[in-house]
């Protein structure tokens, strides 16, 4: 029974890390939604305490919000002590989640008529922790208003009440006043957040190029990235600061560029990727010994229109990270290409042969970054690893970890390669922690051990 619980738990953690409810290469968005929804229902019904504890792990925002919603909607099924812990975990987690997602959660709670005391307290605490309520009131106007109304909160700021529910002819708070003026005056538009300003730009019929050029300082980093293609088309210079970008996003960005541009900017991109990897590696740099990595760049790493080249970006980011962590490093792309920066989704996935190539280098660690669709032929990698483990490395001298960035809706888990320890991965930044966590997934871990690990993570999460 314990074994089943532990396996269910690991399955759910993998799902919560990888699935974002978006379309994947092999599954549609709807299949992902259905599969993930079922898994959440199953977990909250059977292991509510462990379900809540996943909030302390590195799960993605989409799942964090889903967990919070389900926990808040069913308070009657938990005793007082558990409820208190849940509240604490939810409150802490929501502060790490992107604000627009939290506002969407509040809207969801309102729509499903969840308005218990705990929910109101969590909304109140979360809003109290926002650095600038006036900014939120402008940027997320209707959602902010509905959150206040739903949780019966009086705005702390005296002008906010009027801003949201009434109206004034003049505000003393600068951003509110700018917002009011932007209705009549084009210059004020550029002092507003980009998403809000966009609406006013349409209202004032401002030319797109002019708008992008002048609004650039107000954009967030992701917005700058997103509008870059438009900006270039309009000959507007919006410099993207590669130095600040996180590793996986940087990899995604590099892969979004055409090959010719990647060749032209090779030094810049490689330098940025190396620097980001070094930041992630931190003190562990060079401590992993000899590392061989099998990296998937088959056609299926294209992902989908919604998650464009995500699996490939994770593989690319991992490659740079392993390079930083390893003493000596051998990357093996499934296509056989060697230039990591010029990689693109192409051809089949002969994982078995690449694993064999990797083992021939005699590594201390073998890491496989792949979606697990080993198809040339099917199941060869699993067989190679099985025979190698039983006949050539029975003492587990070499640690083998399979990192899988894609949630497989049909099996409610990431796709596995035989009995190799497999963990889901969203961002390459989490890989060092995930590789440690992978020892649980070899199928020999009991529930007690897993619970101890979770308790440890919860304590650290509550402190940090």
């Amino acid at each position: 029974m314990d074994r089943v619980a532990a396996e269910d738990m690991l399955m759910f953690v993998n799902a919560a890390i990888t699935s974002s409810g978006q379309r994947e290469f092999h599954n549609s968005a709807q299949e992902q939604h259905l599969s993930l929804g079922f898994l959440h229902e199953y977990m909250i019904g059977n292991y509510r305490d462990l379900y809540a504890a996943t909030l302390a792990l590195d799960i993605n925002d989409h799942n964090a919000v889903l967990i919070a919603h389900r926990l808040l909607a069913t308070p009657g099924e938990a005793d007082l002590e558990l409820r208190r812990l849940e509240g604490e975990l939810i409150g802490r987690r929501l502060r790490l989640v992107a604000p627009q997602r939290v506002y969407r959660l509040f809207r969801g709670l309102r729509q499903s008529r969840v308005n218990n005391r705990r929910t109101r307290a969590i909304v109140r605490d979360w809003l109290a922790h926002r650095p600038d309520p006036a900014f939120d009131a402008v940027k997320y106007r209707s959602q902010f208003k509905h959150a206040l109304r739903h949780a019966h909160i009086e705005p702390t700021h005296d002008e906010l009440g009027d801003f949201l529910f009434g109206g004034r002819t003049r505000y003393n708070t600068p951003i509110l006043e700018t917002w009011r003026r932007a209705h009549y005056e084009q210059a004020s538009v550029y002092d507003l957040p980009y998403t809000v300003a966009e609406g006013f730009a349409a209202k004032h019929k401002i030319d797109r190029a002019t708008f992008l050029e002048r609004i650039a300082p107000m954009m967030t980093r992701v917005e700058q990235l997103r509008t870059q293609a438009t900006a270039e088309r309009n000959n507007v210079d919006t410099a993207v600061d590669l130095a600040r970008m996180p590793l996986t996003r940087l990899a995604s960005y590099a892969l979004s560029l055409p090959l010719s541009e990647r060749i032209d900017r090779r030094t810049e991109l490689t330098g940025a990727l190396r620097a980001a990897a070094a930041r992630v590696a931190g003190r562990d740099a060079g401590r992993w010994g000899r590392v061989a990595a099998v990296l998937d760049d088959s056609f299926s790493t294209y992902g989908s229109g919604q998650k464009r080249r995500r699996p490939l970006a994770v593989a690319l980011a991992c490659s740079f990270l392993f390079e930083a962590l390893a003493d000596s490093y051998v990357p093996l792309w499934t296509s056989g290409r060697t230039d990591a920066l010029l990689t693109y989704p192409y051809d089949v996935t002969p994982l078995g042969e690449r694993v064999l190539d990797g083992l021939e280098h005699g590594p201390d660690r073998l890491l496989i970054v792949s979606d697990g669709w080993d198809n040339a032929p099917v199941g060869m990698a699993a067989e190679v690893l099985r025979v190698w483990r039983t006949r050539l490395d029975p003492r587990h001298k070499v640690s083998v970890v399979h990192l899988n960035p894609v949630y497989d809706a049909d099996t409610f888990d990431v796709k596995r390669l035989g009995h190799v320890s497999t963990v889901g991965v969203r961002d390459a930044e989490d890989v060092p922690a995930l590789v440690e966590f992978a020892r649980f997934t070899e199928g020999r871990t009991g529930l007690a051990e897993l619970r101890a690990h979770f308790d440890d993570r919860i304590t650290r999460f509550k402190e940090g």
């Binding site: 051809d347 078995g352 083992l359 040339a376 032929p377 099917v378 199941g379 006949r391 050539l392």
Partner: protein, 384 residues
């Protein structure tokens, strides 16, 4: 009569999605002197003048293929421009119709346009198209005057075949792949071979616009997911990594051997070939099967080089009904359209053969009173 020859093409591990299995064919050495390219047409109905008296009308011709060849052995470039004739704006009441002159037509000195699949389908439709050659009393006036005209068959597009679209979308193309075998519920639905890997990459999506028979449509609708062939390694004699590598290499040859049994229906059968066009060293041929009931029967078209090796192949699997029709027509033709001797050859009575013709959709070929007589003789024994 001849068989198909797929030498130079090796079978690679299959990829399965639901009930659809796609088996890649990799060419050891790509053919450089012949290249294919799709020429896109719109969705309008097509009308092809086959000869002076008859015409072939299809409601669906999504594209034509353009073959480019060289005669001096220099590599031919793929005909890379997708030229679509400007469609003249027509008044809203008219149905657009595209008129093609002949199935295969030279568009330039070394360039041939042909309508893939329709070439083969037209060959099947025109089978003994002329009708009875001797005016036996059983045949109707219509059969004598017009032959089998109009002759019609229904097919389904790939998009209507359940699961095929997804299977083609997620299929990962092998390096050097020049062809694919499409299995639906493990029945061979189509074989597709092109001369060059680049052509295959360009033409892979056209498999979804191809025609598939009724049999394939129903199999796809009703099938459960087909099993995948997992690699299995024996670990008894593995002591070093080199042993392991050898075991992997041995395992790789297991699937092609097994696959030979799956594809035997296509490759072992005898076909009657008819050359349609000569393209330099190559010749474009269409072929018809032996119409053996309850067996794989594929019609198709083929481009072979001088030594008979396949440069281009496209097949269409006939459904049971279509096989029966072809079989009956062939038997009749073999016996000079004489009903009693045909029936004797088939081991049945004349009346039973008549009713078989009717249920195969050829009732209009028989005289009304002959048919009534057949029905009457068949009914009597049951009443007793």
């Amino acid at each position: 009569m001849a068989t198909l020859d797929l030498t130079g093409l090796s079978v690679q591990p299959d990829q399965v999605w639901g009930g659809v299995r796609l088996v890649p064919l990799v060419r050891d050495e790509p053919i450089e002197t012949l290249r294919l390219h799709a020429k896109l047409y719109g969705t309008e109905a097509a009308f092809v003048a086959v000869d002076k008296r008859s015409a072939y009308t299809a409601s669906y011709v999504p594209h034509g293929f353009v073959a480019t060849w060289t005669e001096d052995g220099a590599p031919a470039a793929a005909y890379g421009t997708e030229m679509v004739d400007a469609i003249e704006p027509c008044s809203p009441v008219c149905v657009p119709v595209r008129y093609h002159r002949r199935m295969a037509r030279r568009t330039d000195k070394n360039r041939l346009r042909f309508l893939p699949m329709h070439l083969a389908v037209e060959g099947y439709l025109a089978l003994h198209f002329g009708g009875p050659e001797i005016l036996w009393e059983q045949w109707s006036q219509r059969a004598i005057r017009n032959g089998l005209s109009p002759r019609a068959e229904e097919t389904y597009t790939g998009a209507q075949v359940n699961g095929l679209a997804d299977a083609l979308r997620i299929f990962e193309i092998h390096p050097g792949q020049c062809g694919a075998l499409v299995y639906v519920a493990d029945a061979l639905a189509a074989a597709f071979v092109v001369p060059h890997p680049d052509d295959y990459r360009a033409l892979h999506p056209t498999l979804i616009t191809d025609l598939y028979g009724e049999l394939i449509y129903h199999y796809a609708m009703l099938t459960a997911p087909v099993p995948q062939f997992h690699a299995r390694l024996s670990d008894t004699h593995v002591n070093t990594l080199a042993d392991l590598r050898a075991a992997v290499a041995r395992q790789r040859s297991v699937w092609p051997q097994f696959h030979d049994t799956m594809v035997s229906g296509l490759l072992d059968a005898q076909y009657s070939m008819r050359r349609v066009y000569r393209l330099g060293d190559y010749s474009l041929t269409r072929f018809l099967p032996g119409f053996l009931p309850k067996q794989d029967n594929h019609i198709g078209e083929l481009i072979t080089d001088q030594r008979g090796r396949t440069a281009y192949l496209k097949t269409f699997r006939l459904s049971e009904k279509q096989v029966r029709r072809g079989y009956l027509l062939q038997q009749l033709a073999a016996h000079d359209w004489h009903m009693p001797s045909t029936a004797e050859a088939l081991g049945t009575t004349e009346a039973q053969l008549g009713l078989r013709l009717e249920s195969a959709g050829f009732g209009h070929l028989l005289n009304e009173h002959t048919l009534a007589h057949y029905r009457a003789t068949q009914r009597k024994p049951q009443r007793r």
